[in-house]
């Protein structure tokens, strides 16, 4: 709260020194990672036009153990704005991509207490049709403690205990093929903290060291309802 208030008052340069401890060298912007083309479960390229409205699609990026959500905002569009993160300083979320600038992507880890989708269950979901928690459509909700994020506003926190927005994933859109490629994220420090928190689980799921490795040239995107066996509808 304090920190956020402080950030608002400060200019970019002051910030860099004030938060040097928690800032990566390229804070304030998306950090590039080796690009990964989004593909479907069968390995064929995912087309932007194939991203449904109803639920998020899950893909791993930039590392095998980092789940991201690809969201079709429908007729809403994403607005870049200045944001403050818990671990990675200030940044600005990217514009939406696709023909109507309606596709956005975020690291699917709640900034509150790090709930994230697993093959067993996801407490975090994009609720296009609305939800008890959000009370309105088109929000990302976290059942764990009731945080609500608005994906059209850089996934800023709309209500609940989350201290910071979900972190953005940069997407490249190729109009010729209607294809999507993930190119970078904000969240280097956050990802390290996530890995520390869930080391045991991630080793069990992916293998020791494997969850930390780059996803490679392609990454599979599947609807959340296929990715997680249970998706509670809070």
């Amino acid at each position: 709260m304090d920190r956020r208030g402080f950030v608002k008052l400060c200019t970019g340069t002051v910030l860099t020194t004030a938060f040097s401890q928690s800032l990566s060298s390229r804070a304030g912007q998306i950090e590039a990672f080796p690009p990964a083309k989004l593909v479907k479960a069968d390995g064929s390229p995912l087309k932007a036009s194939e991203v449904g409205l109803n639920e998020a699609m899950v893909f791993a990026y930039p590392f095998n153990g980092i789940p991201c959500y690809l969201i079709n905002l429908g007729n809403r569009t994403a607005h870049p704005q200045a944001m403050d993160s818990t671990d990675d300083g200030v940044f600005s979320n990217p514009e939406g991509v696709g023909k109507g600038n309606h596709l956005v992507a975020f690291i699917a880890i709640c900034s509150h207490q790090l709930s994230y989708p697993t093959p067993e269950i996801s407490y975090l979901r994009y609720a296009n049709e609305g939800s008890e928690l959000a009370g309105k459509p088109g929000r990302i909700v976290c059942c764990a403690h009731g945080s609500v994020y608005d994906p059209a506003e850089g996934a800023r926190v709309e209500s609940g205990p989350a201290p910071a927005p979900l972190l953005p994933v940069a997407l490249d859109y190729d109009a010729a093929t209607d294809g999507l490629t993930a190119t970078g994220v904000v969240g280097k420090a956050f990802i390290q903290r996530f890995f520390k928190n869930f080391k045991g689980d991630l080793i069990e799921r992916y293998g020791a060291g494997v969850y930390r490795q780059d996803v490679g040239e392609t990454t599979k995107a599947v609807p959340l309802s296929q990715y997680s066996a249970v998706v509670p509808a809070c």
């Binding site: 304090d2 059942c143 403690h145 609940g160 520390k196 509670p232 509808a233 809070c234």
Partner: protein
Amino acid sequence: MTDNFNRRNFLKMSGAVLAASTAGAAMSVSGSALAADTSAAIATGLKAALPKARGPRLVVVGGGTSGLTIAKYAKKEYPKFDVVLVEKRDMYSSCFSSNLWYAGLINLEFLANHSFLDGATNNGYTYFNATVTGLDRASRTLVTSEGDIGYDFLVLAPGISYDYDKIGVSDVDTMTALRQKYPGGFISPTEHVTIHRKVQEFEGGVFVQSVPGGNYRCLPGPYERACLIASVIKKNKLKAKVLVLDANPEITIKAKGFHAAFNELYKDIIEWKPNSAITSVDVEKRAIKTEFDSYTFDDAAIYPNVRGSTLIEHLGLMAPASKSTQKEANIDTRFYNIVGDPHVYVTGDSRPHPYSKSANTSNTEAHYVAKVLAARAQGKEIAWVSPRTICYSMVNANPMEAISVDAGYDYSAEKDAITGFSKDTKTFENRDTAKGQATLEWARGIYRDMFEA
């Protein structure tokens, strides 16, 4: 005059209860401290085996939700702090979520597979396994079973103690027997293990779950437990009922959701009796009296009234009866320091605030108090922020279904008091499986927040 009289009277009346509940609840005070004058605390002169402080020393007493969260976040907010967490237990096990275990929804590992050592290592502070026996505020020395510790800032987060006196049980023999055979299950892990066995081995008859008056720990806890015991009874098709003896005229929180569960899921199993404060218990005969009725039971979890930890009283930090009728700490409403002493703070369930005494309240309060400490260590002050009470109650075990509340609180500067729930308080009282699932993640999140980096 009046104050003095009241206070003395108050103390005298509850003297017996005090001694017993201190010993039995294995609270943080050793037998010898009981004999000591409440205001006196003599440093032993033996220094605790701790490295020399490398910055302002913050000593946090109590490795529960409040203490663990403060130790971690004070260090995060102000890395110069040299933080020592003093905890009498050598093994963590949470009180929150323990009800879920009784119905087999989680295992004991869920509650207990969290290491004090790892919490300290992950977050740059020191875990010190010792029991507090005294405090000398003049020399800023905390006295423990393992030696003295000097502090610049001290946070006491010792939780609650039981107050059997308030349910008419004031002779030590009855109290000891009651606490041992029919524990409340809202303080220590060993109580949870006993209640777990009771529920799992229950084969029929009447199981009494009592609900105390006053501001007791975990308002929905006894009702949730009634539901989960009833779930087990239902599953095992037992000829049995859960008798809920409620001191209050109405279910104290999420009443709609609990009434719905009682009526729709456990119509013939749960019998809820409002206005039924216990006035006496005969442990041998397994008989309970309330003002107008008497009952016998086959097994029970008797939840007596709740008070601030006896440690607060023994260290001479108790609020006058005009400020707390539950022997809680005499602290500033917004900043948690002992009135007149900016070096000593009391947080968590020994606070006198009307907040719900719950894990989420303590966790969010601790985030704020960590900021208060960090600011004060740097000669600054920050604005008050309300804690948040987000809490789920599992009302059905098969399948898991829950209800929930998300509450904040209002502060009145004029009264210097918490005046009620904030406007954005919401309840979600339609039980469903989504909230049932979320109940588990709610707890995992808090464990992460306390123990992980």
